[in-house]
């Protein structure tokens, strides 16, 4: 089951594509479709986060809370759109159990001006990491353990204040 949000902003022709996914997705195909959907944008910046294959973590589980998680991602998207002039914005985030090399998150921003696209994707990632309603645990040596928030994630947020 996937929750999808495709709502146009008031006065804008374009929409943000924000989805909370509970099944694997294909970032390459998502990016292909996103770039094709915004032919007037000269540039597309993307961030792909994938489960690191480091030999130690056997699996990763992301939990979300239905009433908060997707609505929070949608509010983030609106904030990004209000702050930079974009042709399009894509925010995809997995929930559930993931294996090494599985994609976790894909953010992409399409814009006429390169700087806007870079800043928007960077900002969206910092806020997704530090503020979105996901809880993560890792399976290491057959034992699940919860991942604590990192101080770096909060420091990243401070760059935008």
């Amino acid at each position: 089951m996937n929750w999808r949000s495709c709502r146009p902003l008031a006065g804008a022709e374009v929409v943000s594509d924000v989805r909370l996914l509970t099944a694997p997705f294909d970032p390459a195909e998502e990016l292909r479709a996103f770039a094709a959907a915004h032919p007037g944008a000269g540039g597309v910046v993307s961030f792909l986060g994938q489960v690191r294959q480091d030999g130690a973590v056997e699996a990763l589980e992301l939990q979300h809370y239905g009433p908060l998680t997707l609505p929070g991602m949608e509010r983030l998207a609106q904030g990004v759109r209000a702050r930079w002039e974009l042709d399009g914005l894509l925010i995809l985030h997995r929930s559930g159990v993931l294996r090494p090399t599985d994609p976790i998150v894909l953010v992409a921003a399409a814009a006429r001006h390169r700087r806007d696209a870079f800043a928007a994707a960077d900002f969206a990632m910092d806020h997704l990491k530090a503020e979105s309603w996901f809880w993560k645990r890792e399976l290491v040596g057959g034992v699940w353990r919860w991942v604590e928030p990192r101080a770096q994630d909060y420091a990243d947020l401070d760059r935008w204040v």
């Binding site: 986060g49 992301l62 939990q63 809370y65 009433p67 908060l68 609505p71 985030h93 976790i104 998150v105 990632m125 997704l128 990491k129 530090a130 503020e131 979105s132 309603w133 996901f134 809880w135 993560k136 645990r137 919860w146 991942v147 604590e148 928030p149 990192r150």
Partner: protein
């Protein structure tokens, strides 16, 4: 019945992700729980959402269809 929802490590402490409880003041509800769980839920870093809306005040009285979620610090992406 009202419903408590435990996210992240709180679900481990509770041994479950949801728990039906009798309606009433939250304080009284917590008093019926395992003390270790009640203590974890009262951690000041744990935020609380009533029926999907974050609330700042914990002096809430749970009605029969209310859902109260306990949200430890996030660690997403």
């Amino acid at each position: 019945m009202a419903k408590l929802v435990f996210l992240g490590r709180l679900a481990d402490v509770a041994g479950r992700s949801e728990l039906d409880v009798a309606p009433g003041p939250l304080e009284a509800v917590l008093a019926t729980l395992d003390p270790a769980l009640a203590l974890a839920l009262l951690d000041e870093r744990v935020r609380v959402a009533l029926n999907g809306d974050l609330i700042a005040e914990r002096g809430v009285v749970l009605g029969a269809d209310d859902e109260l979620a306990f949200l430890p610090p996030v660690s997403g992406g």
